[in-house]
C-alpha cells in the first residue's frame, strides 16, 4: 500500500486517462465537461503533491521518488493546468477536444515517469511516452499545413535524437555493464568511450532542451504548432528535461565532472549568444519566444556548470518562475492569435490602447523574462549566475551578463511596440473568458510574489540535496 502511494501522481493520471477513453467511446459528455474534469484533476493532483510525500523505490529500483521529485512534478502539473486554462478559448472551437486532453495527459504521465526513473531503460521508455503524443499534438491545427510540418519534423528529429541517445547509453552500458543510475554513479571511470557516450547522451538532452546547435527544430516546430502546444513544449517539456538532466548530470555522471563542466561551458556560451542574436531578428512572436527560450536555456546551463547545491536549486527555481513568466507571454499570444490570427510583432502596435490588460500582462512577463527586478525573473537569473560563479569562472559570468543586456534590447522592443507605437488598425478589443482570467491572475501573482517572497526558493533549496539520496 505504502509503495503504491509513491505512485500517486502517476496513478491519478492513469486512472483519469482510462476514464477519458471510456467516456469518449460512450460519447456522453460535452467538451466543456471534459475541460472541467481535466482542470479539477490537475488541481487535485497539484494539491495532492503537498501531502504525504515520502521517498522510496518500487519495481526493483526502476521507479523511485522523493520529496524533491514531488516538487518538480508539482511544478509541471501546475504548468499544465495553467496551459489548459489559458488556451481554452482556442480549444473550445476544436473538433477533437477529448483527444487533445488524452494526448496532453499522456505526455505529462511520461514526464512524471521520466522524473522518477531509476535507470536508463525506464528513462528511455518514459521519454518516448512523453515525446510521441507530443508530436501528434504539434499536428493539432489540422487544417494548417504548417502544423502538419511541425508534427512531422518533431517526430523525425526526435527519432534521430533518440537514436543518438540510445547509442550513448549503449556505450556506457558496454563499458560498465549496468544501466542503473545508482551503480553507474560509482562505476564510471572516465574511459574515452564513456566520455563519448556522455557527449551522445548530452546531445540527446540538448535536442530536447534546444541547446545550440541541436536546436534547429525549435523555431519551425514552435511556429507551426498551436500556441498551447508551443507553450507546453517550451515550459513543461523543457522543464521536465531540465529536471532529469540535472539529476543525471549530478549523480550518474558525477565521476566525469570535468568533461561535464567543459561541455556545459562551451554550449552555454554558444547557446546564450546565438539564441539572443537570432531572437533580435525575429518578426513572428512565436519564433521570437522560441529563440528567447533557447537563450534562457543557455542561462540554465550556466547555473548547472557551477556543480554545487545552488546549481540544482537555481535551475529548478528558474523553471518554477519560468512557468509563470513564459506561460503568461504564450497565453497572451495564444489568445490574440485565436481571436485575430495575428502573430507578428508589428501587429501588436497600439495594443496597449485597445487591450490594456493584455498588454500589461505581456509587459510584466517580458520584464520577468528579461530579469528586471522586482519581478520573479530577476531572482531566477541571479541565482543561476550566483551558482555559475561558484566555480570562479568569471569569463562565463561576464558573457552571461553581457547576454542579459543583449536580451534586454529585444524584450524592451516588444514592450515599446505595444505601448509607444501607433497602428492604423490595431488589434480590436478581445473579450477574455473566465478560464483565461483565472490563469492571468495566477500568472501575475506568481511573477510578483516570487519576486518578493523567498519561501518557494527556500523550500527548493532545502530539498535539493534529495537528488543524492538514492546514491
Amino acid at each position: 500500500m505504502n509503495s503504491l502511494l509513491l505512485l500517486k501522481h502517476e496513478l491519478l493520471l492513469t486512472a483519469l486517462l482510462l476514464i477519458f477513453i471510456l467516456i469518449k467511446l460512450l460519447k456522453e459528455i460535452s467538451n466543456h465537461q471534459f475541460f472541467l474534469i481535466t482542470c479539477v484533476l490537475l488541481a487535485v493532483n497539484f494539491l495532492a503533491g503537498f501531502f504525504g510525500n515520502s521517498y522510496g523505490s518500487v519495481f526493483g529500483n526502476m521507479f523511485h521518488t522523493n520529496e524533491f521529485i514531488s516538487i518538480q512534478k508539482n511544478i509541471l502539473n501546475l504548468a499544465t493546468l495553467l496551459i489548459v486554462l489559458s488556451s481554452w478559448s482556442w480549444l473550445k472551437h476544436h473538433h477533437h477536444v477529448p483527444e487533445f486532453f488524452i494526448l496532453l495527459l499522456t505526455t505529462l504521465l511520461g514526464m512524471f515517469f521520466m522524473l522518477s526513473s531509476g535507470n536508463f531503460l525506464m528513462f528511455y521508455l518514459s521519454l518516448e511516452l512523453a515525446t510521441i503524443p507530443l508530436a501528434a499534438l504539434c499536428n493539432f491545427d489540422l487544417e494548417k499545413k504548417q502544423s502538419s510540418e511541425a508534427g512531422m519534423k518533431m517526430i523525425l528529429l526526435s527519432a534521430l535524437a533518440s537514436a543518438v541517445l540510445l547509442l550513448g547509453i549503449s556505450f556506457i552500458y558496454g563499458t560498465t555493464g549496468t544501466i542503473s543510475f545508482t551503480e553507474l554513479s560509482f562505476n564510471l571511470t572516465g574511459h574515452p568511450l564513456q566520455v563519448f557516450g556522455f557527449i551522445l547522451v548530452f546531445a540527446g538532452f540538448a535536442f530536447k532542451l534546444s541547446v545550440i546547435p541541436f536546436h534547429l527544430w525549435t523555431a519551425d516546430v514552435y511556429e507551426g504548432s498551436p500556441v498551447a502546444i508551443t507553450a507546453y513544449l517550451s515550459v513543461v517539456s523543457k522543464g521536465a528535461m531540465v529536471f532529469i538532466f540535472t539529476t543525471i548530470l549530478y549523480t550518474v555522471f558525477r565521476q566525469i565532472e570535468n568533461t561535464g563542466y567543459n561541455t556545459l561551458f562551451i554550449t552555454a556560451v554558444v547557446t546564450m549568444t546565438i539564441g539572443n542574436l537570432f531572437a533580435i531578428r525575429q518578426q513572428n512572436l512565436k519564433r521570437f519566444l522560441a529563440f528567447s527560450s533557447i537563450a534562457q536555456v543557455g542561462f540554465i546551463l550556466v547555473g548547472l556548470s557551477g556543480y554545487n547545491q545552488l546549481g540544482i536549486s537555481s535551475a529548478t527555481y528558474f523553471i518554477f518562475i519560468y512557468v509563470f513568466s513564459n506561460l503568461a507571454a504564450f497565453a497572451v499570444v495564444g489568445l490574440i492569435s485565436a481571436a485575430s490570427g495575428k502573430e507578428n510583432i508589428n501587429d501588436y502596435r497600439g495594443l496597449a490602447k485597445t487591450n490594456p490588460s493584455l498588454a500589461w500582462i505581456m509587459a510584466l512577463s517580458l520584464f520577468s523574462l528579461a530579469g528586471i527586478p522586482p519581478t520573479a525573473g530577476f531572482f531566477g537569473k541571479f541565482f543561476l549566475l550566483a551558482a555559475g560563479a561558484g566555480k570562479g569562472n568569471f569569463v562565463l559570468i561576464t558573457i552571461a551578463a553581457l547576454n542579459i543586456v543583449l536580451s534586454l534590447y529585444y524584450y524592451l522592443r516588444v514592450i515599446r511596440v505595444m505601448f509607444m507605437d501607433q497602428h492604423d488598425s490595431p488589434i480590436p478589443n478581445i473579450k477574455c473568458d473566465k478560464a483565461f482570467n483565472t490563469a492571468a491572475v495566477i500568472f501575475i501573482a506568481g511573477i510578483l510574489i516570487a519576486g518578493i517572497w523567498d519561501y518557494p526558493f527556500q523550500i527548493i533549496n532545502t530539498l535539493a540535496p534529495y537528488i543524492f539520496t538514492a546514491y
Binding site: W217, R281, Q309
Partner: protein, 643 residues
C-alpha cells in the same frame, strides 16, 4: 537604540506611494497635501533620529558607533552566506537621511503648486513616494545586496519620473536612455557584488569590511592573491562596484543620460537628478571606503581620475549650453565629480582622511543649493514657458524672491564666503592640495569655471536684456506661496549649512576631529571664484557683443564644448558599429555557411536567389547535418581540446 523610527522613516513615503497609487483618483486635490504631510512626519523623525544619534547616544568613548538596529534573514544560500534585510546606522547614513528627507519634503511642498492641473497629479506624488522610499531604504541598507535591490528600485522610479510626460517622444527616449545606460553600469555592479561576496563569503557590510580590511584575514589574502587579467580579484570587485556608481552618479564616460533626463518634470530633476539619486554612487564608495582605502588604494586612484575628469569636462560643457536645465545638469555632474575625487584623494589614517569628510560635507551642502537652483529654474521656466536662456532676461523685477534665492544658490555653488559651498569646497581643495598638486590645480580651475557658468546663467536670466514682457501675463508675476516657501527654506539651508562643524560628526573611522579655516589657503579658491564671477559680469551684465566675439576667437574650443565634446555622437557611432558587428557576421553565416551547405546538398539553384536566409532553412536533412556536426565538434573539443 530603538528601531521603530528607522522603520517608519522609509515606510511613510511607501504608505504615501500605496495610498496615492491605489486611491489617487478619488483623492485628487488632496493627494499632494497627504503626500507632503506624510513626508513631513518622516522628515521630523529623521531629524530627531539624527539629533539622538549625534548628540545623545551615538558616541561611545568618543567614537561614533555603527549600529544595526534591525536585521532579518531573508534569503539563505548556505549557513555562512545569506541575504539579509537590515538597517545600518552610522554617521553617513544618518546624514543622508537628513538630506533625502529634507530635500524630498521641499520638493513635495513645491510640487503641490507646480504640478497643479496635471492630469496625473496623484500618480506624480505616488511616484515621488516610491522614489523617496527606495532612496531611504538604499541609504539604510545593511548589506551590499540590499543596496543593490533598492539601487534598482531607485532606477525604476527614476525611469517612471523621467518619462512622466510619456506623450512626449523626447521624454520617452530620455527615460529609456537613462534606464539602459544605468542598467549597463549596474551589471558591472552586480558582478562586482558577486566577486566580493565570493571572496568574503558574506554580503553584510560590517562583516565584509572587517574581513577585507584586517591584514591577517585569510579572505583578504585570498582576494588579493587571486588574479585575473593582471589585477587581483579584490581590485576587480571594487572597480566593478565603482562602475555601478559611475553609472548612477553620471560620471564620465557614462554621464550621457543625465542631461537628457532633464525631460522629466523640474521638481523631479531637483530631487532625483540633483540632490539624492545621483549622489548614490558617491555614497556607495563612501560605504565601502575602508576596503578601498586599506586594501586597495589603487582603486581609489581610479575614483580620483574619473572624478576630476568628470568635474572639469562637465564644467567646460556647461559654459556653452543654452538650456537652463542642461546647464544645471552639467553643473551637477561637475559637482559630483568634486565629491568623487575628494574621496579619491582620501586615504586611511587620522591625517589623510580629510577628503572623506570633505566629500560628505560637499554632498550635504550641494543638496541644498542644487535643489534650490532647480526649483528656482522651475519657477522661471513656468514664467517664460521656455527652457532656453535666450528667451529670458531682465526677470529680477518680475520675480524678486526667485531672484534673491537663485542668487544665494549661485553664490553658494561658486564658493563665495560665507555661503555653504565655500566651506565644503575649501575643505576638498585643501585635502586635494595635500595629496597631489596637479589635481589641485585642475580642481581650482574647475572652481573658477563653475563660478563663471553659474553667473553667466544668473546674469542671462535676471539682467542681460532690459526688463521686458511686463505687459503679457501680468497675473503671472511671482510663484505661489508654497513654492516660494520651499525656495526660501532651501536658501536658508544653502546659506547656513556651511557653518556646521562637519568633521565633528562625520569621519571615515567614526572619530570626530577638528578642522579650522586656513585663511591664507582660502585666498586662491576665493580669488578663482571671484575671477569667474567677474568675467561673467563683464560679459553678460547687459546685452553686448563681447560673448560672440570671444566665442569667435576660441571657435574650436567653443564648438567642442557646445557639442559636449561629441561624446554622445561617439556613443551613437559605437552603437552603430556594434550593430553592424552583429548584423554582418550573422548575415554572412547565413549566406556563406548555411547556403553553402545547401549548395552541397544540391539545392543551390532553388535557394540561392532568396537572399539572406536564416540558419534554419526548414530542411530536415540539413538539421540532421548540424546535429551530427555539433556532436563531433563537441566531442573533439571536449575530449582533445580541453584535455
Amino acid at each position: 537604540m530603538n528601531m521603530n523610527p528607522f522603520v517608519c522613516i522609509p515606510l511613510l513615503p511607501f504608505i504615501s506611494f500605496l495610498l496615492l497609487g491605489l486611491f489617487g483618483r478619488q483623492l485628487k486635490p488632496l493627494a499632494g497635501i497627504i503626500a507632503t504631510l506624510l513626508m513631513a512626519v518622516s522628515t521630523a523623525l529623521s531629524l530627531s533620529v539624527a539629533y539622538t544619534y549625534f548628540f545623545v547616544s551615538g558616541k561611545v568613548e568618543g567614537i561614533y558607533q555603527t549600529l544595526v538596529p534591525l536585521q532579518y534573514k531573508w534569503l539563505e544560500f548556505s549557513p555562512s552566506l545569506s541575504i539579509d534585510m537590515g538597517i545600518l546606522i552610522d554617521p553617513i547614513s544618518v546624514m543622508m537621511l537628513i538630506v533625502v528627507t529634507v530635500v524630498s519634503l521641499m520638493v513635495h511642498l513645491y510640487s503641490i503648486s507646480y504640478m497643479k492641473g496635471e492630469d496625473r497629479y496623484a500618480s506624480f506624488f505616488s511616484y515621488l513616494g516610491l522614489f523617496t522610499f527606495s532612496m531611504l531604504a538604499l541609504v539604510l541598507s545593511s548589506n551590499i545586496f540590499q543596496i543593490y535591490i533598492f539601487w534598482e528600485l531607485v532606477g525604476i522610479s527614476s525611469f517612471l519620473l523621467i518619462g512622466f510626460y510619456y506623450d512626449r517622444p523626447s521624454a520617452v527616449k530620455a527615460s529609456r536612455k537613462a534606464f539602459l545606460v544605468t542598467r549597463f553600469a549596474d551589471l558591472g555592479f552586480l558582478i562586482g557584488i558577486l566577486i566580493l561576496a565570493f571572496e568574503a563569503h558574506t554580503l553584510d557590510f560590517r562583516v565584509l569590511i572587517e574581513r577585507l580590511t584586517h591584514p591577517e584575514s585569510e579572505f583578504l589574502i585570498h582576494a588579493s592573491t587571486t588574479t585575473f587579467l593582471g589585477a587581483s580579484a579584490l581590485t576587480w570587485g571594487l572597480v566593478l562596484v565603482f562602475m555601478g556608481g559611475v553609472g548612477k552618479s553620471a560620471m564620465f564616460p557614462m554621464h550621457i543620460w543625465l542631461p537628457d533626463a532633464m525631460e522629466g518634470p523640474t521638481p523631479v530633476s531637483a530631487l532625483i537628478h540633483a540632490a539624492t539619486m545621483v549622489v548614490a554612487g558617491v555614497y556607495l564608495v563612501a560605504r565601502l571606503f575602508p576596503v578601498f582605502a586599506i586594501s586597495c588604494p589603487a582603486a581609489l586612484d581610479l575614483v580620483m581620475v574619473i572624478g576630476v575628469l568628470s568635474a572639469i569636462l562637465a564644467a567646460l560643457i556647461a559654459c556653452t549650453q543654452t538650456d537652463i536645465k542642461r546647464v544645471l545638469a552639467y553643473s551637477t555632474m561637475s559637482q559630483i565629480g568634486y565629491m568623487m575625487f575628494s574621496l579619491g584623494v582620501a586615504r586611511w589614517g587620522m591625517d589623510s582622511q580629510n577628503g572623506f569628510t570633505a566629500s560628505m560635507f560637499h554632498l550635504f551642502t550641494h543638496a541644498f543649493f542644487k535643489a534650490l537652483l532647480f526649483l528656482a529654474a522651475g519657477v522661471i521656466i513656468h514664467h517664460v514657458h521656455s527652457n532656453e536662456i535666450k528667451a529670458m532676461g531682465g526677470l529680477r523685477k518680475l520675480l524678486p524672491i526667485t531672484h534673491i534665492t537663485f542668487l544665494v544658490a549661485c553664490l553658494a555653488i561658486a564658493g563665495i564666503p560665507p555661503l555653504s559651498g565655500f566651506f565644503s569646497k575649501e575643505e576638498i581643495l585643501l585635502a586635494t592640495y595635500h595629496f597631489n598638486v596637479s589635481v589641485f590645480l585642475l580642481a581650482l580651475l574647475t572652481s573658477g569655471i563653475t563660478a563663471f557658468y553659474m553667473f553667466r546663467l544668473y546674469f542671462h536670466i535676471f539682467w542681460y536684456s532690459p526688463t521686458q514682457q511686463v505687459s503679457s501675463k501680468a497675473t503671472h508675476h511671482e510663484a505661489e506661496f508654497v513654492m516660494l516657501l520651499a525656495l526660501i527654506l532651501l536658501a536658508g539651508g544653502a546659506a547656513l549649512s556651511g557653518f556646521i562643524p562637519f568633521s565633528r560628526f562625520v569621519s571615515a573611522n567614526g572619530i570626530p576631529f577638528n578642522t579650522s579655516l586656513h585663511y591664507d589657503f582660502s585666498i586662491l579658491p576665493v580669488a578663482s571664484a571671484l575671477t569667474g564671477t567677474g568675467f561673467a559680469f563683464y560679459l553678460y551684465k547687459a546685452k553686448n557683443l563681447r560673448p560672440d566675439r570671444i566665442a569667435e576667437r576660441i571657435k574650436h574650443l567653443y564648438t567642442l564644448s557646445y557639442h559636449k565634446f561629441y561624446i554622445d555622437e561617439f556613443y551613437t557611432m559605437v552603437n552603430h558599429s556594434i550593430h553592424r558587428l552583429i548584423a554582418y557576421p550573422s548575415a554572412w553565416i547565413d549566406r556563406q555557411v548555411v547556403d553553402g551547405s545547401v549548395n552541397m546538398s544540391g539545392k543551390a539553384a532553388k535557394t540561392a536567389s532568396e537572399g539572406i536566409r536564416e540558419m534554419q532553412s526548414g530542411q530536415v536533412h540539413q538539421y540532421v547535418f548540424w546535429f551530427i556536426a555539433g556532436i563531433l565538434i563537441l566531442a573533439v573539443v571536449v575530449m582533445y581540446g580541453m584535455g
